[in-house]
Subunit: 672 residues, 2 copies
Amino acid sequence: MEQPTPPTPPASAARPDAPAGAGARPVDSTRLPRRGAAIREVTVDGGPWQRLQQTNADATLDHCESWMDRLGWLANFDRVADGTTGPDRPGWQFSDSEVYKLIEALAWEHGRTGDPDVERRLRRLTTRIARAQDEDGYLNTCYGHSGRPPRWSDLEMGHELYCVGHLVQAAVARLRTSGRDELVEVAIRAADHVCREFGPGGRDGYGGHPEIELALAELGRATGERRYLDQARRFVDRRGRGDLVPPPLLGPDYFQDDLPVREADAWRGHAVRALYLAAGAVDVAVEDGDEELLGVIGQQWAHSVARRTHITGGMGSRHQDEGFGEDWELPADRAYCETCAGVASIMVSWRLYLATGDVRYADLIERTFYNVVATSPRSDGRAFFYSNPLHQRCPGEPSDEGEVNPRAEGGVRAPWFEVSCCPTNVARTLASWPAYAVSVEGDTVNLLQYAPGRVVVRLDDGAELALHIATAYPLEGEVTVTVERAPRRPVTVRFRVPHWASGATLATDPAISTHPGEPARRTARPGFVDVTRPLSPGDRLTLALPVAPRFTWPDPRIDALRGCVAVERGPVVLCLESTDLPGGVDIADVRVDPGHRPEDDGAGASAWCAITAASNGPAPDGAEPTPALAYGTERPAPPPCAAVRLRLIPYHDWAERGPATMRVWLPVASLA
Amino acid sequence: MEQPTPPTPPASAARPDAPAGAGARPVDSTRLPRRGAAIREVTVDGGPWQRLQQTNADATLDHCESWMDRLGWLANFDRVADGTTGPDRPGWQFSDSEVYKLIEALAWEHGRTGDPDVERRLRRLTTRIARAQDEDGYLNTCYGHSGRPPRWSDLEMGHELYCVGHLVQAAVARLRTSGRDELVEVAIRAADHVCREFGPGGRDGYGGHPEIELALAELGRATGERRYLDQARRFVDRRGRGDLVPPPLLGPDYFQDDLPVREADAWRGHAVRALYLAAGAVDVAVEDGDEELLGVIGQQWAHSVARRTHITGGMGSRHQDEGFGEDWELPADRAYCETCAGVASIMVSWRLYLATGDVRYADLIERTFYNVVATSPRSDGRAFFYSNPLHQRCPGEPSDEGEVNPRAEGGVRAPWFEVSCCPTNVARTLASWPAYAVSVEGDTVNLLQYAPGRVVVRLDDGAELALHIATAYPLEGEVTVTVERAPRRPVTVRFRVPHWASGATLATDPAISTHPGEPARRTARPGFVDVTRPLSPGDRLTLALPVAPRFTWPDPRIDALRGCVAVERGPVVLCLESTDLPGGVDIADVRVDPGHRPEDDGAGASAWCAITAASNGPAPDGAEPTPALAYGTERPAPPPCAAVRLRLIPYHDWAERGPATMRVWLPVASLA
């Protein structure tokens, strides 16, 4: 059943004052009072995000292209163009999407840096895919050509709409960073084909893996063409009719096809599917002024974040369907936390933040950036975690650098996977990181994510505000903003104070001639804290966030974490890795003493722990034979042995020193 | 690589004194000093096992046949016979095996009771499958005929050898309970075909799902034909070469193809596969006197039972591959504990018990019978659990009695499943239950499982020992054995004292004129306790097992159970079901006080509990906004509210009163 299209005017193609490139951001609705910074409005010149971006540029982009070349995923396009397709096509049915996500990453990278080599690489790939497009706009290397299954013959698992979605997202990035080119033309032809095929009078269907929805919505915004938004809404509205036949042993919730989007109260089923769908639904809700739908997705977010999200921001607790579990089903060892679900969660939270301005969304984005997105790539950018568990009992097997890893388990970063969605998703996200760091609304610039560098934004009236940011965050908690240029009228610099930053302060220097009553240094409570005044070059605003290590406790309804505590330091989740254990100690035998605060070591922490001999022991009267099972009649109370101070490192750095066991959640025991 | 066949003499076809039927038991090696009771040597005339057997006979056998008829799984055989096969075959590729398991159940049921209606039903099915056998002995309705994939074209997932295995197991049951008939001839032709096809000079392969190994070994024992044993050994020895290509995202451990059987130190991968393989390996080891292999399987058992087995005896912690997890990976909520894995575990333990006489195997068999096998069927025998989790957070959806359940999740018993291996596995196991209750070695009768009824065994010299057993076990702990007939010389009655039965006693009446020094009542420590003497009709031996409810504690290395305790009563694991909670109370908010012993209520128990308001609550200074996530800086210490006494029921009875939430493992909190 189609929702009637409200008679809203078409969205304009771009903000009036924005030349191509200047206003480039992944999500851009003119209907909202706030916008994300354009990718060039924020420059990062140090710290972990600069390092991650640089490694992405220097290694990952090339790494991904090389693997796809080697595996024939690129050549699949040539075979379609040359008419030499057949039953022996390499790669999964969705491998085209990896090429598109790489192109999107290249588009953002070029938008960010203008690197001509990146531009050449992007054009070369574009030419190759363009040749594979059919006359009518259909573009897919798995379906619809000689020796291959017919078009749209497997809406459940075929991923054809999904692949078009990623193509369109790449093209939107290109359109906004560089302007209309061959890639944009290809994507528009493909999107037009989808609109004809699945629009009014066409197939009344929808795809098994959401993604087309958010892509078409953004294409509608970027081109000002209402029909793409209408088609996005159709896909969102159709879903939940139960048309899709689930794979064996899975249910329709795998596809989020068990309920219409607006009838669900939580995310369920395959996490990446659920999150891409939610992102598309927010886009549709925003463009149509559909407050009800927006409210529903916000409520799904609140429910799912409160009860189905791991401490890292990671989502997904089940391996079977790469899916969400039930409320409170958050096992550390089997945490799936697919890297792509982290990316998708940021996509949803970012849209909800733009729509509402609620700080909680930016908080979760930070958590997910530091503890999921930053965890996936190895420090050299050439291997990745697909799943991000919070507890590793056995060291992973060292991954062969020349081999495709068939499995998506955690433990060791692998150079490539059979299902290799994560590396390119990391690449496009890191390349566009600045766009999530800052937003602008009216005369306010919102500093959402902290990194050293420069923010130069155009306020809504066209005036420019330029801020220099100095910080060693998250190693240190001080963020110093120095005004470089500002209009001659009051403006607002709004700082995000993360929910954990109890005791933060904001200092202003000079101590404000214009606002004599305002103290030079004031408490900044979690949420947003504003400085509103005329600013002059040289003015300094210093936010001090307490990043000292702290204990974090789980809700008692999370059965898998009962009796455990985690340590966080600023936005960074820490972990204990076996590499830092005394020889011969099993990570299962470590207990942390919550009576001793963890101590700061400048990057991680050290915590007082007891090493126990974990064992039920024999029954005291000796009556019971050595129990065959792991259950006994005596309550186990292993005596703590020597207390030791153990080093905890950032979770995102684990397994960088070789295969290891690891725990984020540490059982507690008082040191007597 | 083939192991050389040692030049051992062929096993004899049957024990010399055993007419067809009299010596019928599922596992029967003449090479061992002990044998299980024959199915007619033990009669159960009351208690849960009589009830379960009767319901199986009255309802389940018919229920299974009706469903397979309705779904076309029986007609698949007719279509092969009639040459009308095609691509549209109903059922999974292994559906033939369900028919064979039903026939095996019928064979045991007929062997146990002699019911002529069961005999007719068995013959009717036999005729139907016999018509589908090819000239050369090949028998499979999924492969090898018109419109179907060729024979042996999918060794990984085709289950052809697996299906022959179940056919052969059915035929062995028939041969032993009734003699050589059409079913036996069909199975022998099929087994001969397998030996030709996969024997020396044939295909050097093995199947993805073990089962053929134990079946051929038993056929060799039952027929005295050495070649079946040789072929069983070939299959056991070939496995682990890595020939089998795993399904996407799974590894070769799924098939136990990662390591040769004798190089593995624990069970891993798909639980039913791992356990059927282990059972076959024990058979091969026993027949060949291969002590090394026997020791390896015993060691795998010890490791896997100590670290990879749930309190119910259930095995399997992962849904993705229906498989074992790592050591200590034993989540209550995602416990898979497939019913078939419980059956298979009993098959392995029984073989190891027969080979070694170790009481631990019989202990685990009892635990698994009461808490997995008895849990699966609904009280009317017409619906089943496939998976048996130990924690249900949301009530299951009521199952439509007329619909095939597509999912294997716990929560509600379903009449039939798409993959419906469990109902027929339960049926064949319940029909042969008496064969696991008693064993004989020399002049000793071992009473392993307790039920009211009669045990009439022939000792090894042909003398008969007849015992009447009166007990309300497990509701009550007293088991009274009254001698009915006994030879005029000392014999031994050996009682199993379960590992949990600390404080058991054994009383003899009369207090033994022949052994004046022996007290009338003595302590019986866990393990075995013997009465050895000449017995006279009317002599009474009374074992008293303490079945009062008791707390059971998990090994502290089981992360998922930290801070929890279970309550057991005799061999029965108890649970808290939401049906027994005060209105409005969430099962997540119940804490049990380990300071108060649970009290007996005659079947389950009642335990003192606190109902808590489980919530992190806001931070005390109010600085922190309502946290978006389920993690906070304050250690949660919800105050216990009113203490209440809550009823705990046998786990095997849960969900009989409608969909409910449930916990076996209860978080502890002291009532202040």
